[in-house]
Amino acid sequence: MLRGYYTSATAMLAQSRRMDVITNNLVNVETAGFKSDTLVTRSFRDMLISRLNDPSVYQYSNVGPHNLGIHVDQVYTSFTQGSLDETLNPTDLALAGEGFYVIDYIPASAGQNEELNYEPETRYTRSGNFNVDANGYLVTPNGCFVQGQDGPVYVGTSDFSVSTDGTVYVNGEEAARLRVVKFEDNTVLRKAGDNTYTVYGATDENGELITAAEPEDIIPEIRQYFLETSNVDEARETVRMMETYRAYEVNQRMVTMFDESIRLTVNEIAKF
């Protein structure tokens, strides 16, 4: 079969995947703490084309390399700092540097059904729009506890203050310190929805995470009364969307042209 047919088809598939990632970035342009994704594609390994049945040579000779198309390689999340938006809300805590908050994640639906006895999972987030729950603890809007150095952070009311290094003051006294961690290699993080990240790293034979994926605690730079906006650059994503669309279109033309060639081959040339 015409190899080019499949090459162009791989390109269409890859551009379609790229479109998925771009549109997700664009609709999350107002999501606090959101980090932009980029899809990286890669060519298949080059194949060598050989010359067969050529009476002028005595053995196979190589014509040259040929490529079979592209495939999606990986999604790269860019953790550049988003700009800070002043909200004047005391429970909004923006991270103005590296690092992630640590939360005890329970899916919002499971929290309501106590019989499920859901074990909280450690997740990480950049989104600092927190609330105070009915018992006075600092939580995310989905009800997950935000971790301090000694467990969940009790603030009592929404009348607390947080200094730049993460110390929480309730009624003027130091009550807790927020836990902020940093990863040596951010590529171990996977987005998991609800503005959270999980760690996805290599595990050894016992199922334990290999150390490179362990976070380390750091002294953060936290700004109370601010939220970090998403770092999506609408202009760049829109241009990428246009490029993706045109690449999709041009490869569709290629496929159609190959289809036309085959049609000619089958119907015209082979006519008898």
Partner: protein, 263 residues
């Protein structure tokens, strides 16, 4: 379904809801005691794209599925003080709420017997022959024991910063009546807005705590909506809406291109 089409449409729907919240804020820019809301977003479930070539599981190959409401949070910043010089107008300077009796309780467990408000324009209403202190909707304003308040001589009524109501007659004799209910909760943002400037308790509100508010007679608290800020938020929401619409259009065009593979 073609994922970008769905993602783009979620963007449109959620920005529409954002604009609804902004519109409600702007419509209440002159409502005394009104507290503005803000709509926040979160991203949704990520799925893994398939990479047949390299089976290494450790490459990040996620694609997102759009956006969703994270929270619609009520912001209790203090509104501006507005002087009215009317003896029955009060405002709370600080954290706390007035309590009124719910004239139409719905909950079977009695949880909405009382409603709470920041709007302090009160009036005298004759009910069964007695002059009761009521609010603009006719609901009885309550004292610290959650009882109705009778005010015989409203023309000489004084309300001190801690909420004590007193009447001083012509001879200079002061008669202390009672104290206004001023309450606060662990999580006021967890109260639900039930209209007419009232808030009702929910399971997220938490228990009552000491309020930190001064009662100011002769003043009303303006709405805390900052018009300029809402306009900026509206511009951002409209821009995001346009971008989401562009995603939907482009996704649709891509589907059209695919359809033309075999015209």
């Amino acid at each position: 379904m073609f994922q970008p089409l769905h993602t783009g449409s979620l963007g449109l729907i959620m920005q529409q809801r954002n604009i609804d919240v902004i519109g409600n804020n702007v419509a209440n820019v002159n409502t005394d005691g009104f507290k503005k809301s803000r709509y926040d977003f979160q991203d949704t479930l990520y799925t893994r794209m398939f990479n047949k070539v390299d089976n290494s599981e450790y490459m990040n190959l996620q694609r997102g599925t759009g956006t969703r409401e994270y929270q619609t949070i009520k912001l209790f910043e203090q509104g501006a003080m507005r002087s009215t010089d009317r003896l029955l107008d009060v405002m709370l300077e600080g954290k706390g709420f007035f309590a009124v009796e719910n004239s139409n309780p719905q909950a079977e467990d009695g949880s909405d017997t009382y409603l709470y408000t920041r709007t302090g324009n009160f009036y005298i209403s004759m009910v069964e022959g007695s002059p009761y202190l009521v609010d603009a909707n006719g609901s009885f304003v309550l004292n610290e024991n959650m009882e109705r308040i009778i005010v015989e001589d409203p023309a000489n009524l004084a309300i001190s910063p801690d909420g004590t109501l007193s009447v001083t007659n012509g001879e200079g004799i002061t008669d202390i009546l009672t104290k206004l209910a001023v309450v606060n909760f662990v999580n006021p943002a967890g109260m639900s807005s039930v209209g007419q400037n009232y808030y009702a308790l929910t399971e997220n509100t938490g228990e009552g705590i000491e309020p930190e508010a001064n009662v100011r007679q002769g003043y009303l608290e303006s709405s805390n909506v900052d018009y300029a800020q809402e306009v900026v938020r509206l511009i951002r929401a409209q821009r995001a809406y346009q971008i989401a619409a562009r995603c939907v259009t482009t996704a649709d065009q891509m589907l059209g291109v695919a359809n033309q593979l075999r015209a």
